[in-house]
């Protein structure tokens, strides 16, 4: 019984982080209809920047979130404006391959700059933990989960209530109509990309606190984001949260009860099953591109 509770708790913590790591990917997909295969690289970039900041300034890694998000916001804006924009209106496979090319280049650059070794960010409270009933919680994991949930709520509120968020949602729903109403679609695209990159960076910090990372992990995080988006539904923080929690639960349960080598197998089977029975994701937002 305790084992089940512990596994479920671990799964939920992991799921919150998956959700945060996927929300930017989901946003770009929903608004630009671009599969951003460099998403994982942006996540890792956030982790490395946080490592740099926290070692230079000796501050808590979670306090690095605002500066890292600001840096990635600028990178994301430029990246979309100068590269992706040229491929947005072409076939979807083209923009996907463009981002893959960028991912390869940045991965190589990260290997040059930070070496291919595993790194991790260690906050001062790394070894604290507390018990809630029979279930053990690490302080790092809980703070990571809380940071994820806070950031997800922030993004949801931004999209829901701010004027900019309303423009982004309008562009996602009806690009042409938004353009007719005077929306500068290119600017909105670039802004969406920037927000998405900023959240990818924040996710990188949270990931860096609880898991070791290396430049070779970028594929894993991109693939996870894709699975989360397909599970939950595209373009909304709530969809990413549901997809992320589901993915977290499935992978910890599989690792615990079937074997540590099989999370990807069950994850993929779940993905295919869901695409067959609910092609629009659990929250039911339409996938224009999938069929």
């Amino acid at each position: 019984m305790d084992l089940i509770a512990q596994t479920l708790a671990d799964g939920l913590v992991l799921g919150g982080i998956y959700a945060l790591a996927a929300v930017g990917f989901s946003l770009i997909f929903g608004v630009l209809h671009v599969i951003n295969l460099s998403h994982g690289v942006l996540v890792l970039l956030g982790a490395y920047l946080a490592l740099l900041f926290s070692e230079l300034l000796h501050i808590d890694p979670l306090l690095c979130i605002p500066p890292v998000m600001a840096v990635l916001f600028c990178i994301g804006y430029g990246y979309q404006r100068f590269l992706i924009q040229h491929a947005v209106d072409r076939a979807s496979v083209n923009s996907m391959l463009l981002t893959f090319g960028v991912a390869l280049m940045l991965q190589n650059v990260m290997i040059w700059l930070f070496s291919p070794d595993m790194k991790n960010i260690t906050p001062s409270y790394a070894f604290n933990s507390f018990k809630l009933g029979p279930v053990n919680f690490d302080a790092v994991r809980v703070s990571a989960l809380l940071a994820s949930l806070a950031l997800l709520s922030l993004l949801a509120a931004f999209l829901r209530y701010s004027p900019m968020g309303r423009v982004i949602r309008a562009t996602a729903q009806q690009t042409m109509a938004a353009r007719l109403c005077g929306v500068n679609v290119r600017h909105v695209y670039a802004l969406t990309f920037a927000v998405s990159a900023a959240f990818a960076g924040a996710a990188g910090i949270v990931i860096g606190i609880i898991l070791p990372f290396s430049p070779n992990d970028e594929g894993t995080w991109t693939l996870n984001a894709f699975v989360v988006v397909v599970l939950g539904g595209v373009g909304s923080p709530a969809g990413a949260l549901i997809g992320g929690l589901l993915l977290g639960l499935v992978s910890t349960l599989t690792a615990q009860y079937i074997g540590p080598a099989f999370p990807n197998v069950t994850m993929f089977l779940l993905l295919v099953f869901l695409l067959l029975v609910r092609p629009h994701g659990l929250l039911g937002n339409a996938f224009a591109a999938s069929r």
Partner: protein, 315 residues
């Protein structure tokens, strides 16, 4: 423009003879490069039957290389007493059959997805294939599989595999050509252009897609079997490779998506660039491949064929 068919036939025969005679006068390093070019061209052509003609760009075709190679290896190790002349056909049959069964089984669910969803789902297939091969002892993916040496005693193994790859690539080219000319090929092209309209006009799109998927998978698997023999020893990592998954798309992009010779041109160029020009700059490899991909998408989405056509007919 009409050419004399006898002239074309003569040119084809001459080209094949020249290619086949390659190992006799090429230095050993270039025989290796030639092997890799022919192997890549064969894979690129097999990929393009589905990805180029029907427009279903798969991002996980290395799954079939792996399945073909491991099926062949497991069967061959069971009948290792047979003479080498029989082993290769046995391996090819096993690898091809395994790919046919598996691809037919996943064809229905996976071909319901389109565009990028199909591409990523195939990436998932290759990752799951790799994990299953690696973690279930029966497949010996982590331990590795040995392949018996097949080359006749009086022949250089490198030259022998060069000829095998050449035969494979030429057969796949012939099959692609036949498909391209057939009603089936026209149906695949119509799927690429507009699947829903094609179905409305009576093209059996579901069946065509499935057949193209299985044919593409089997041909990829057969090349995988030859490749595994040329390596002599394989583990999961040596056949289920993500860079292969990517390269297969790049060959078609570079040469010209959906054209018959596109993958051949692309494979030749890319192998030449990565092996000969960048051969010494291993640290720079990923970066260069990425840069090439970015430039290709931004400047020449039609590939080499597209550039040539644009020169010929300024539109």
């Amino acid at each position: 423009m009409k050419h004399d068919p006898r002239l074309i036939a003569a040119a084809v025969v001459l080209a094949v003879v020249l290619l086949a005679a390659g190992p006799a006068f090429l230095p050993p390093f270039y025989v290796r490069v030639g092997q890799l070019m022919l192997y890549s061209a064969g894979l690129g052509l097999a990929w393009a039957i589905l990805g180029g003609f029907a427009g279903y760009a798969s991002f996980g075709h290395s799954a079939f290389i792996g399945i073909g190679a491991f099926a062949a290896g497991l069967v061959e190790s069971r009948y290792s007493g047979l003479p080498p002349v029989l082993l290769l056909p046995l391996g090819l049959a096993a690898g091809g059959l395994a790919c046919a069964i598996l691809s037919a089984a996943i064809a229905y669910p996976i071909l319901r997805l389109r565009g990028t969803f199909f591409a990523i789902a195939m990436l998932g297939v290759s990752h799951v294939g790799a994990e299953v091969t690696n973690n279930i002892d029966f497949f010996q993916g982590a331990l590795g599989l040995n392949f018996p040496p097949l080359a006749p005693a009086d022949m250089d193994p490198a030259a022998f595999y060069y000829e095998l790859f050449l035969a494979g690539a030429l057969s796949i080219l012939l099959i692609s050509w036949l498909i391209r000319r057939s009603r089936f090929g026209a149906g695949l092209l119509s799927i690429r252009e507009d699947e829903d309209t094609a179905r409305m006009l009576g093209v059996p799109t579901e069946r065509y897609k499935r057949v193209a998927f299985v044919v593409s998978a089997v041909l990829t698997g057969l090349m995988g079997v030859i490749y595994a023999h040329s390596l002599g020893y394989i583990t999961t990592e040596s056949v289920y490779r993500d860079d292969t998954n990517l390269s297969l798309i790049v060959y078609s992009l570079l040469g010209g998506m959906g054209t018959l010779f596109g993958p051949v041109i692309g494979a030749g160029l890319l192998v030449f660039i990565t092996q000969v020009i960048l051969g010494r700059l291993l640290d720079f490899h990923l970066f260069a491949t990425g840069l090439l991909l970015v430039l290709l998408i931004l400047m020449a989405p039609g590939g080499v064929n597209g550039l040539l056509n644009r020169k010929r007919r300024p539109a």
